[in-house]
Amino acid sequence: MPREFTPKVVTANALIEGDVIYLTEDDRWSRALEEAEVLTDEAHAELRLLDASARQSEIVGAYLADVKLAGGTAAPTHFREDFRRTGPSNYFHGKQAES
């Protein structure tokens, strides 16, 4: 049986700043995971990733990251994505210091 498709978001790093960004439904790049478009259909997700990857002058390394839905918005399922949306644990730097 094919594996069931789990919810995803398109994420990448910003070309100039290098920080973590997420693709929104209206084709913006947001720095907050909560604003990301949550993709629940596999074919649609692949298409969104293709579109995003074509935006070479804005981003680096787009990929689909797993999320779970918590109260209608996306939350990470893996600790790597949790660090990406927060920042390092040894200093109060990165996203956690910016919001």
Binding site: N13, L15, I16, E17, G18, D19, V20, Q56, S57, V60, G61, T77, H78, F79, R80, F83, R84, G87, P88, S89, N90, Y91, H93, G94, K95
Partner: protein, 554 residues
């Protein structure tokens, strides 16, 4: 110290100009990331989890105070006020913006520093004994040779696209402080019939297939070094596997082809190359040796030092751990610990860098070194200056007396920064150091090397730690595996896996249990952890780590 000539300065300016144009073309969209990535890697620019990272080479770990001040300036102006010193004598900036990096490289060039060949499949920054030129046990300062290798390997047309990265380390004394046996080529200086030469070691490396290097030539006269190195690298360049990234390092080439075949090919190639070098390299080396002449040491009266040592227990403790024997009796080698308990191993703030630069200028003939253990070294300090130096360091949080002890931990950036990580390593190092400080036990425990990597790539040298810790991802949860009995010196060995891994919560108590258990196992107070492990084998240490298993067996 080596001074750039006109050629070096022009070469670097041209490289920086080219890279600036490449960055511009990336930003305006004329280059895709696939096109740009090999170019940025040629210039030490990585993309990590949260930002770009710039890795700057500190050739053979040597800096003067002006260079250290410039590193501080970069940290302050384009980063978040600090830099991270690594196990390969580099400094990494964790937060630069892509459009600032060309300016950072220009600022580095002002003080003869660069980021060339700090990544990519090239010959990387050549590392050397951090006590070079100062150690009492040294045959010769290895840095002129290291600089010669740097010049030969930088932009070497044949070696820009090797099968994989290539790391060379040199030590000028029989005692290995440069982990030469875990490098693609390790050079250990020895003497034969009164002449200096090298034991040439190939095929060492850590990563997913750790191997101790093998001796390919037991004695190579110093004059033959460059043609011999070129022979090794060119044999590897042809033979090394390009079909599989995980089998591409020379350690696998040596393993798959056998040492004898490699030896034959290298010697045959060497026979051809030797004449082609025609002595130019030796003329250059003679010039370099003059530039690395030792400073004009002043005579120092050691009376004040001895009085302070007798009367001040805090000073004494620092001297006992952080001072190594200098070749002159009235001087000392000072290691400045970048491992304050609970701090990030290898990090220094811009203020700390500047202070260390000032102190080097005032007390250490303007010289600093970066050690592979992520500390800073003042290689030449007259003993009468030590009390004053210690006070200045202590006031800046740089007086930690823990060199070589449990809290002097090597840790890679791990999941806090690194895109390849499977788990964090920095917080584990912080917690272990904090715990040992609470226990007030590390001086009693003595010589102990704990090394932590956040994935199988082993940048934190865990395989050669007396206690190694490897962070893994087990079904989406951080898990830490322990290896025991590793050694990175001239008696090198790869640590053995102790058993099942520990959770992030359990790893620090496990290390504590292990170290306390060792205190009961050691034969005398002088027997180090590694010696006890070698005498007793793994069994009693495993029994300490896994008491449940012992109970079940009983």
């Amino acid at each position: 110290m080596y001074r750039y000539n006109e050629f070096d300065t022009a070469f670097l300016a041209e490289r920086n100009r080219q890279f600036r144009a490449q960055v511009e073309r990336r930003i305006d969209g004329s280059l895709t990331e696939d096109e740009f990535k090999p170019l940025r890697l040629m210039n030490g620019v990585y993309l990590q989890l949260h930002a770009y990272m710039l890795r700057v080479a500190i050739p053979y770990g040597t800096l003067n105070s002006a260079q250290m001040r410039q590193l501080a300036l970069l940290a302050e102006k384009w980063d978040k006020g600090y830099g991270h010193f690594t196990t390969r004598q580099n400094i990494q900036y964790n937060w630069p913006k892509l459009n600032d990096i060309p300016d950072m490289l220009d600022a580095l060039a002002e003080v003869n520093l660069h980021a060339i060949q700090t990544s990519g499949n090239t010959i990387r920054n050549v590392t050397a004994d951090h006590f070079a030129g100062a150690a009492a046990d040294e045959i010769e300062d290895p840095r002129p040779v290291a600089e010669l290798i740097r010049q030969w390997s930088t932009d070497h047309p044949e070696f820009q696209f090797l099968p994989r990265k290539f790391k060379i380390a040199v030590t000028g004394s029989p005692n290995d402080r440069a982990v030469v046996k875990a490098h693609d080529i390790g050079l250990r200086m020895i003497e034969r019939d009164g002449n200096p030469g090298f034991e040439v070691i190939v095929g060492g490396g850590l990563g997913r297939t750790p191997m101790i290097g093998k001796v390919v030539r037991d004695f190579l006269p110093k004059a033959d070094l460059l043609p011999y190195l070129e022979a090794i690298v060119s044999v590897y360049n042809l033979l090394g596997r390009r079909d599989n990234k995980y089998k591409a390092r020379i350690k696998i080439t040596v393993h798959e082809n056998g040492l004898e075949k490699i030896q034959e090919l290298v010697e045959a190639r060497f026979a051809v190359l030797r004449d082609q070098f025609g002595g130019v390299d030796q003329a250059m080396l003679a010039d370099l040796e003059a530039q690395f002449a030792p400073p004009q040491f002043r005579d120092a009266d050691t009376g004040a030092f001895e009085a302070a040592y007798t009367n001040d227990p805090v000073f004494r403790s620092w001297v006992d751990t952080n001072i190594a024997t200098h070749r002159r009796a009235d001087h000392a080698i000072v290691s400045i610990s970048l491992k304050a308990h609970g701090a990030t191993p290898g990090d220094a703030s811009a203020d700390q860098m500047r202070l260390m630069a000032d102190l080097a200028q005032e007390f250490a003939y303007d010289e600093l070194r970066i050690s592979h253990e992520q500390n800073v070294v003042l290689p030449h300090v007259a003993k009468d200056a030590l009390p004053q130096l210690f006070q200045a360091l202590k006031a800046a949080g740089l007086g930690t007396a823990n060199i070589g002890l449990a809290s002097d931990i090597i840790a890679c950036p791990g999941m806090d920064y690194c895109a390849l990580a499977t788990a964090r390593s920095i917080p584990i190092a912080q917690e272990i150091a904090t715990r040992f400080e609470e226990l007030k036990l590390e001086h009693e425990v003595g010589d102990l090397k704990i090394k932590i990597s956040g994935c199988i790539n082993a940048c934190g040298h865990h395989h050669v730690g007396h206690i190694g810790i490897l962070g893994l991802d087990r079904a989406g949860v951080e898990n830490y595996q322990i290896t025991l009995g590793g050694d990175g010196t001239e008696t090198a060995s790869i640590g053995e896996r102790a058993g099942p891994g520990f959770s992030a919560d359990d790893i620090v108590p496990a290390i504590e249990r292990l170290v306390l258990g060792y205190l009961d196992l050691r034969a005398t107070a002088d027997e180090t952890f590694l010696q006890a492990y070698r005498r007793l084998g793994a069994a009693p240490f495993k029994a300490i780590l896994y008491p449940e298993a012992r109970e079940k067996a009983a």
